[in-house]
Amino acid sequence: MPLGGSARLSPDAGTDTAIVFVHGFKGHHLKTWGKLPEMACADESQFWRKADLYFLGYEVERLHVDSSAHKLSEYVSSIFPEPPASMFERSLDQYDWTRTLLPRLSVARIRPGPYSYSKLFLVGHSLGGLIIRRFIADKLQLFAANPQIDPDTPVRLATIRLFAPAHLGFSPSGWTGVAFHVSQELWIGRILEAAMYRYRAYSHLRPNSHAVTEVRQITEHLASLYPSIGPLSAHLLWGDEEQVVESGRYACDLATNEHYEPQKSHKDICKPTSFYKLPLNFIELGVPFV
């Protein structure tokens, strides 16, 4: 994998979509999403069958949004629209234990090439949402000096789906013992969520902090310059029991593209189960169709 993280690559020859998942503060590139990777891979619908899933792995201990956005930029550039062929095929003459397979089997491939994507989805949770918005703003701001010309960047093709994003800042509040009165299945999640409150680093990303307000201002300004560019407007999914980040949307996000799901908390909102398939539908179709 380029730059760390992991991927679930589809064997379907018609694969045309790259979905990049960006986890949040103290999150984990796979565990953040619960069963989403395996449910998505098992889903036989056209959308999921023809999608490669990329889970960005990055260190967020110090909450440097700019550097994380830069890392996301490098990551996306390395896979979209042309991912490296080496991700999909291996020449078997370079490994000691596969040489006996030669010449009958000289290359092992996940699917036949060429490998390219026409669609890009950026999916973020919590801090990952803010990082995605910073990344989009950085990419499009380069063109803002000459707004008459459409930005020539592959990122303009992106579709943005954000679960409980920290795009308005972290605002941990309302944590009480009642929050721990949950099933054993949710208990560890609540414990770890509570432990996160103790990180002083949150103060850098309070609602009125520079890092948070700047992303919003730039994004809204760019959206006024480029109203037809999709990735400046996000679809947002929140849990009704949100207690970690400030909920709400940017001026460029449509009210119809925002949804609050009952009985879901900050950590649960993006984790599908056999009874809660909303995350998969949300990624594929956006809010109006869920």
Binding site: H28, Y95, L105, A108, R109, I110, F180, W187, A194, Y197
Partner: protein, 284 residues
């Protein structure tokens, strides 16, 4: 769809080789003490049985897997007698028997013979998830250091580590290890345990089709993963709880959860997933 079976098989094994065997073999080669070497050998043993289980359920093809196994487990097989003599108590009892059988019969891979799965294909995604969790944990240096420290250091050495507030070099399992770092890693270890508990629940809740298949598959996964945090060991149990209390004190206290409730819930989690291999077949 593109016909891929052998290619897919080789790619999956290449991934296993790179993600699991390569770092573990590096740890083995770099080990400077007997304990560090033994821990890495334990990880190699676990890797051997992941491949065996993968073949057993048809996730890996047998012929390709034998090629990989023949190239990677020379040290494990040659040092296994001495290893089991000292650390055999950490592992499922049939591991030693199967390794010995493989050596006696000059087989590369020894599958379990106590049960044959009726419909093993349905376990592939769970196998992949469990293996992914385990690979994650062995790439996590602090977590690996916590497990190795609890399993291989003497109680006095662990006490000494816990009393150190700053970084120290006193431990062969980590360049820098200290009490606060062990405490920080406790949260990761809880998350790791819970991931396996959730997996176990998921498999259990889909066991209507063939309960015996499900039962044996869950037992196999437990055998593979529980040695790293072996709560049958009194040292591990004792210090894991002490570190848990410290984690509570530094991260949870004051948020409305009492330490008794924390301990009770942690005990529930450990009882659910933290049982050792010996009790795994009898559990539920």
């Amino acid at each position: 769809m593109f016909p891929l079976s052998e290619e897919t098989d080789v790619l999956k094994l290449l991934h296993f080789d790179e993600a699991y065997l390569t770092p573990v073999r590096q740890r083995f080669r770099k080990a400077r003490t007997n304990r560090a070497r033994a821990f890495a050998l334990g990880e190699l043993l676990e890797a051997y049985f992941w491949l065996a289980l993968g073949v057993e359920i048809g996730y890996y093809g047998e012929s390709s897997t034998k090629l990989l196994a023949a190239a990677r487990f020379v040290e494990l097989l040659s040092e296994s007698t001495e290893f089991f003599g000292t650390y055999g108590f950490l592992f499922a009892p049939d591991f030693e028997l199967r390794i010995q059988t493989a050596k006696n019969q000059k087989q590369v891979l020894q599958k379990a013979e106590d049960y044959t799965f009726v419909n093993p294909t349905r376990f592939h995604s769970w196998f992949q998830r469990a293996l992914g969790l385990e690979i994650e944990s062995l790439h996590d240096r602090p977590l690996t250091a916590l497990f190795a420290t609890l399993a291989f250091l003497a109680p006095t050495e662990i006490e000494a580590l816990l009393s150190v507030d700053r970084r120290t070099r006193h431990n062969e399992f980590s360049t820098y290890l200290s009490g606060p770092r062990l405490t920080n890693t406790f949260g990761i270890s809880m998350s790791h345990l819970e991931s396996f508990a959730v997996l176990d629940r998921d498999i259990s809740s889909h066991s209507d089709e063939n309960p015996e298949d499900s039962f044996f598959f869950r037992a196999r996964i437990r055998q593979l993963t529980r040695w790293r945090l072996n709560l049958r060991s009194q040292t591990v149990k004792h210090f894991y709880q002490i570190i848990g209390d410290r984690f509570f004190g530094s991260r949870i206290e004051g948020l409305g959860l009492s330490i008794d409730s924390f301990r009770d819930s942690l005990t529930n989690l450990l009882n659910e997933w933290g049982l050792t291999h010996e009790s795994s077949l009898a559990a539920r």
